[in-house]
Symmetry: none
Subunit: 231 residues, 2 copies
DNA sequence: GAGATTGCTGTGAGCAATCTGAGAGCGGGT
DNA sequence: ACCCGCTCTCAGATTGCTCACAGCAATCTC
């Protein structure tokens, strides 16, 4: 994460701030703007490594913005943000080259993962690793495959995201609120009990194949993924 | 703790004073205000390193305050204070970035610990250490793990908090009243006998693994955590 | 040493946090 | 339309924590 520059473009201040804060904390250098014209301007000046672009902007749509950028020789990959109900063809038309898209509402962990994936595909230079291996579990993030002691297991999308988040913070207690904020979509508005349920699902799938339980409950605090080495 | 500036924002004078006094005593430089407008003003002038922000304020709520601050370029992490019963619905997004939240009533030691945790996460610059090691005992605060001579032991949340408080004041007698005030939630209204009980629990777990008893009773005064090497 | 004071710790009731199974609702695929 | 897997809720079971209390031990006072 050696000073990767991200340009965030979204007209909703809440979403923009959420993204900016969250990505800054994830180690990116972030510049955030609220409309297409500013985006073009900022991209020209700032030479971002990747652009997060809402397709619905007040002045111009994401497609026009991208076209404009490309015509100016700015080839940074774009991660489009679209509403769930955008038409399928509109979206597929956008995702050419190194580009990708995510539907709103998204989860913060997923955004970060997606950015890493795109950077991995575009600049081989960075030493971004697509395989996350901690303790007895190995995740291949390109293939979305999870191996427990080299045995492939099948996880639902949410189970996968939860495990990935736990594994990217090994030996550190994560509160249920933190897990909810990072793994679930930002508009999720249920109870934290859902985290308990999914931890339960994960344990049922993982524990039979491991030598010791990997997800520990820290009563009154949260959960922790324990990696074997050290302590 | 090299002159870290904390801005405390709470409209209840009791809580505000409690926090201010306690944080000053913990070595922070504190400025305290009672409403959102003053908070914005104070943050602008004072450039705090961290902000303790009650979400329920007379003029504006904590989120508006934060938004306002962020829009002004003030990026200091925020530790939100929320009532226990408004927890479930409104905490979404509070643990994103450097931010975190605590429910009222809280314990003072926990507030201090949380502030240190946040500073640790946000400014890697400062030499905030997540491992607290005094004498034969080592606490890993990220993992909430306690080692006695490198052997992992299991403590309940209250036992953990008590030990952490004792260890952060080594070679210094703490009265039962002080312990009660720092370790238990501020609205606790039981007897000081509870401190005796928990000291007893701790000793039962710690002493079998240490070369000498680490928690000393100063009859008529209080308790002292003794570290071998000076103090 | 006797009585008073202070501290220690086992017991147990009540409670809070967590786990988990069952099932409702939704949506995608056939 | 039907099936199937996934998400999420709910409630009962379970775990184990907190705290009060009471009797005992240690220490102090005279």
């Amino acid at each position: 994460m050696e000073n990767v520059k991200v340009l965030v473009v979204d007209d909703e201040p809440n979403i923009r701030d959420l993204l900016a804060t969250s990505l800054r904390f994830a180690g990116f250098s972030v510049h955030a703007v609220g409309n297409g014209a500013d985006a073009v301007h900022a991209a020209e000046k700032g030479e971002p490594d990747i652009i997060l672009l809402d397709v619905m902007l007040p002045d111009m749509n994401g497609f026009s913005v991208t076209k404009k950028l490309r015509s100016m020789g700015i080839m940074a990959p774009v991660l489009f943000l679209t509403a769930r109900d955008e038409t399928e063809d509109k979206i597929t038309g956008l995702t050419v080259g190194g580009d990708d898209y995510m539907t709103k509402p998204f989860s913060l962990d997923e955004i970060v993962a997606r950015i890493h994936a795109i950077l991995r595909r575009t600049k081989q230079a960075t030493i971004e690793e697509s395989v996350l291996e901690v303790g007895e579990i190995k995740i291949n993030q390109d293939a979305h495959e999870v191996f427990v002691n080299d045995e492939l297991i099948d996880l639902s999308p949410t189970e996968y995201k939860l495990l990935r988040f736990l594994m990217s913070n090994p030996n550190r207690v994560l509160t249920k609120a933190q897990i909810l904020d990072h793994v679930w979509e930002y508009d999720f508005n249920g109870e934290m009990g859902i985290v308990e349920s999914y931890v339960s699902y994960l344990r049922k799938k993982l524990d039979p194949l491991t030598t010791e339980p990997l997800i520990q409950t820290k009563r009154g605090v949260g959960y922790m993924y324990k990696s074997a080495k050290n302590g």
